[in-house]
Symmetry: C5
Subunit: 307 residues, 5 copies
Amino acid sequence: MKNQIKREQKQRVWFRILFQWHGSVLPSILPKVLLCGAFSIIIALLETGGLNLSLPLESGIVPSIVLGLLLVFRTNTAYDKFWEGRKAWGTLINTVRNLARSIWVSIEEREPEDRTEKIVTLRLLVAFAIATKLHLRGEPVNSELAPFMSPLRYEKLKIMNNPPIEVAFWIGDYLQRQFDRGYVNAYQLTAMFKLVDQLVDVLGICERILKTPIPLAYNIHLKQLILLYCFTLPFQLIAQFEWLTPLIVALISFTVFGIEEIGIEIENPFGKDPNDLPLEQICETMTRNIEDLITLAPCVRRWQDTP
Amino acid sequence: MKNQIKREQKQRVWFRILFQWHGSVLPSILPKVLLCGAFSIIIALLETGGLNLSLPLESGIVPSIVLGLLLVFRTNTAYDKFWEGRKAWGTLINTVRNLARSIWVSIEEREPEDRTEKIVTLRLLVAFAIATKLHLRGEPVNSELAPFMSPLRYEKLKIMNNPPIEVAFWIGDYLQRQFDRGYVNAYQLTAMFKLVDQLVDVLGICERILKTPIPLAYNIHLKQLILLYCFTLPFQLIAQFEWLTPLIVALISFTVFGIEEIGIEIENPFGKDPNDLPLEQICETMTRNIEDLITLAPCVRRWQDTP
Amino acid sequence: MKNQIKREQKQRVWFRILFQWHGSVLPSILPKVLLCGAFSIIIALLETGGLNLSLPLESGIVPSIVLGLLLVFRTNTAYDKFWEGRKAWGTLINTVRNLARSIWVSIEEREPEDRTEKIVTLRLLVAFAIATKLHLRGEPVNSELAPFMSPLRYEKLKIMNNPPIEVAFWIGDYLQRQFDRGYVNAYQLTAMFKLVDQLVDVLGICERILKTPIPLAYNIHLKQLILLYCFTLPFQLIAQFEWLTPLIVALISFTVFGIEEIGIEIENPFGKDPNDLPLEQICETMTRNIEDLITLAPCVRRWQDTP
Amino acid sequence: MKNQIKREQKQRVWFRILFQWHGSVLPSILPKVLLCGAFSIIIALLETGGLNLSLPLESGIVPSIVLGLLLVFRTNTAYDKFWEGRKAWGTLINTVRNLARSIWVSIEEREPEDRTEKIVTLRLLVAFAIATKLHLRGEPVNSELAPFMSPLRYEKLKIMNNPPIEVAFWIGDYLQRQFDRGYVNAYQLTAMFKLVDQLVDVLGICERILKTPIPLAYNIHLKQLILLYCFTLPFQLIAQFEWLTPLIVALISFTVFGIEEIGIEIENPFGKDPNDLPLEQICETMTRNIEDLITLAPCVRRWQDTP
Amino acid sequence: MKNQIKREQKQRVWFRILFQWHGSVLPSILPKVLLCGAFSIIIALLETGGLNLSLPLESGIVPSIVLGLLLVFRTNTAYDKFWEGRKAWGTLINTVRNLARSIWVSIEEREPEDRTEKIVTLRLLVAFAIATKLHLRGEPVNSELAPFMSPLRYEKLKIMNNPPIEVAFWIGDYLQRQFDRGYVNAYQLTAMFKLVDQLVDVLGICERILKTPIPLAYNIHLKQLILLYCFTLPFQLIAQFEWLTPLIVALISFTVFGIEEIGIEIENPFGKDPNDLPLEQICETMTRNIEDLITLAPCVRRWQDTP
């Protein structure tokens, strides 16, 4: 019975997604689909007017394979970028969690001030993530970052070329200082530095995804083949389908343009579209994890808490 | 002779799987398959009633390639998630085994209490795995976890946002304390910390798999193309197959919906369905490995056992 | 001239493989192929008896693509497992070599007994590999392992759930003891521990490959589609091929069942079939490498050899 | 409204790319396309002259699959090289950033001269990237490198076989010297050495990409199949298309040659073509990041700045 | 103008590769292609003699997909091995460079003899690469190795089962000795040991590639399907093409056998064929890099050079 209900629900979800407009590629490809349809109508009119424009249907399997291949290729490389971007942000979460735990557990607190400084640094980790988000979106340092650092640093950050790198410098500098004061040993310091390196690696990976579109030659060749295909289609179909031709051409071009458009949409996954990564949510999760951690008392605490 | 019997057995297994209902996608796709069949019956009725609804069979190879491509893509990305999830849990097993062995072998035991504390920590490793399982399934901390930690910690865990992270903190804090007491040297501590980091990495990987479905635009486009395909099918087949059309449409739509449904089923591999990962079993194996380890006496033991 | 001979030899090999029975999938798929052939004969008889069972040949390209896709998928995932298993054993060889060299080169020998103990540990490395092999094949600890450890340990091993993990514990315990005695420094100990971790990782990877078959839903769907395909084939071919139909159906079903069977055969590569990994050979190579190493005198030897 | 404008812009970009000449493969493949067209005209002339050269259209699906497969293969391996090259340079950026930050944050500055030396080393990191760029392009050491090192070193570099390796030696030597003077501890030194190793790894990866074209046998077989395909095409099409044959052959051969040419173009991504990696830009970004870092004061500074 | 010339050159290269015999698969597949052609001539003769051997052309799309799939699979796995082998040798170069630089920069030289010993060890690194090359080619230790080690060691190497492992032992032993003498600290020693481990890993990877052919079942099934395909081809084509059949069968079988042969040729990339890896060149590059390094004076040199 319960399964029955669950299954019906699944069916409903299936059909809701089917007709969803928001997040679909339809708005973007409609003009091109209509263009192909309109062109087919002209062909159909000319055909009715007595011109014989029909071409035999089968024009070879190899060009179809080539077009199919290019579409597959476009889709796969775009999705690979999407997924690599997602993985990079997953690594960012993991690294922030691990670095935060290491700092919280391993750096000594001889006085309450040490604890305060630790909390400041933990929040800098979140600041790194948010700064990376803004940097990837081409947005300037804004008020979203303010709660995670001192006003002085916030002002300084505003004038930097690459704010996340600056934040990473602060974290590294804090760690080095703790080592110089003897609050952490050299081995753990080195391990923590590696985690900071990982943060910067993530930043670099995201920048690489952002700045390396599909090679231009592919893009041009693919667009040319798609158009060639869609514009030769009515000649192939007109004899058989007559006045249905525009409809069928529209449907087929919808299929083909749709898959190309998806590639374009997900290639850069750091934006704010419904098809992009939920970076806001990821940053919030990170903040929550850090705030949770701060509520716990590690054994390296050498002073007495009095609440 | 023995080979003969083994082969016959294999054949029987082959046919048993063939007709298996439990774990198959049939229950989920039956409504959609019947819908397509019903639609075909209507078309067949109208055709018999004199309307000529037939369309020529060949409507171009490229849309078929595009649909095929999207299905391949759906299947591959879903399976990649399944397999990455499996790999993550494999890493979890390995890391728990390695960390347990390191703790058992390398941390000094000066008094019997040290050994007790070690056992507590080893059980926390299993608790980490179970907590991760519950967290991934969206279930609250429950009695399954109780035997692996003190009641105090169990209560504390119940109120955390992300219980596995808390468990990782306890393990890290235990290790740091042993270092502060001089029971383990800094290099081994750092190596153990890296293993704790790995545990948290696995958690992050699983969360990423769970929370990143296929991009929406793909999902919509795929569902639209499948439906488009299944609903234009009767028009293509009616002239040739007549009253067999509904049967054939049902079979073909079964093929296509089935492959899509598999993608949906295995995309999130952390559930309790027959197609999901055997997380219960994995956790049990882990528990057994840890209990086995506890029966062995490492050379770092400085006190005399008297059983 | 020499090239000529070499080429002729290659041609001979080519044709010898072609007709090889041992290791081919023919024995396993023959019943199913004959079944399809028999079914076709029945259809052909009924057709000759006057029933018109013929169906038009072309029943759509998409179901063919779906079946093709599933076969590709089956083959690729099975081979990936085969290859990942091979890689894991490659890593095992490498790690055993590296760990053996590290132990041999870096652990001090103050007395001849130290050397003896080293040799014992080096043989434990081979024992780990053999125990893993037996464990993966579901075989109990047997006499194959006896020469590589003391009788006491051999007996102990017999009663463990997971023998390789026990062997890893012994190796780890030996290393830790050397560190406690000051025969090796902490950094090298940590590096050696990492290699032991790698051994256990390999074990975990192999267990994962062994225990994770292709998701059930795929398996069922694939088998259903294959059978559906093979049993609709005679209806499609009967009009054209008449009494040749059974032959052709048998050939085609041979093609399809063959590729599915290969997937089944190589999915678990740890058995003893001709298509499995040569684990015996790998273990022998390892033994030979270790025995070679033992013949060399490292500079850490502090006592005088008198041969 | 805003979305509307954005969408129109996207459409314009789409069409601009479509007709772009610079960066497209058209200039390179035009001669071959024209050759195929000319050959078709000859066939058409002969056919009109009374010779029956027509061949039936369908000459088997398998050769088409083989050609398609080879084209896919060509494209994928070429793109993999492109992308691996991009990744290598991404790693280069990350490593330069991390090594620069480590040096800046962790190496002590007891006197202002220490700082100067640090800056010299940081600039050597950029020099490494530029030297790698020049080395990959087969260009000699030139004035581009001069600002990043002393004239003495610049002269020395000019006579080396592999300049980047020399730069890596200088960086390594600097780090070792700081360790010998007690300005950095052994653990951090080791971590920094690993980053230098990574720089050299990137160099090796790029050299590998550069020097390993697709295996010759593939290349020959692919070219032969393409030509075979394009030259049998007119015989297949002449009966149906008559005087349209040359046009259609030209279009199809454009499709096929285009995809092959793309493979050739992006296989070596280190050149200066529009389809190559933007190495100039990458080096500039790196320079900017380093100069930014130099403006910050790390806590290891033991002397008073007086600006 | 310059572009024009460059483009013409490219066209010439294109056509030169097209007709290249050396390195192409033609010599190997010619016998099989001729066999298929001859078989077709027999069929054509019988057909002319009055027997009706013609079969309808279309025998289903699924077997074609299966054959295509197996060919793709064959090609991809073979190329993966080729590329993995190339990567392994790339790693070898990188590791040799990094280890050489580490040794040169970090190990102290208190007397000129220390330097001589360093140079001996650096040359052993090259010896490792050459020994690996010979080992992979199944060649015995020969004079190529003599210049890189003392005659004593050269003789010893000749009697070992696996020479590269022996060389790795010598390198490891040298490093350990330096540590025992206090010429290098423990951290750097450990890092260098890891690089030696990497050398041995590369050896293991190459051995794995060499000793793991494609699973037998695949190989048999593929060869059977190819022959089945080529021998049913004339029956399918005879009605349409008549006396052109042998030519067309030869061309198609050339296509299919060619792609299979390429797989065979590049599967083992360590030989001396034109399609194999340029191991000679790689070893020479390595030698040159090492000799270059030796010309540089590192700061760890504590004695005065008098050139």
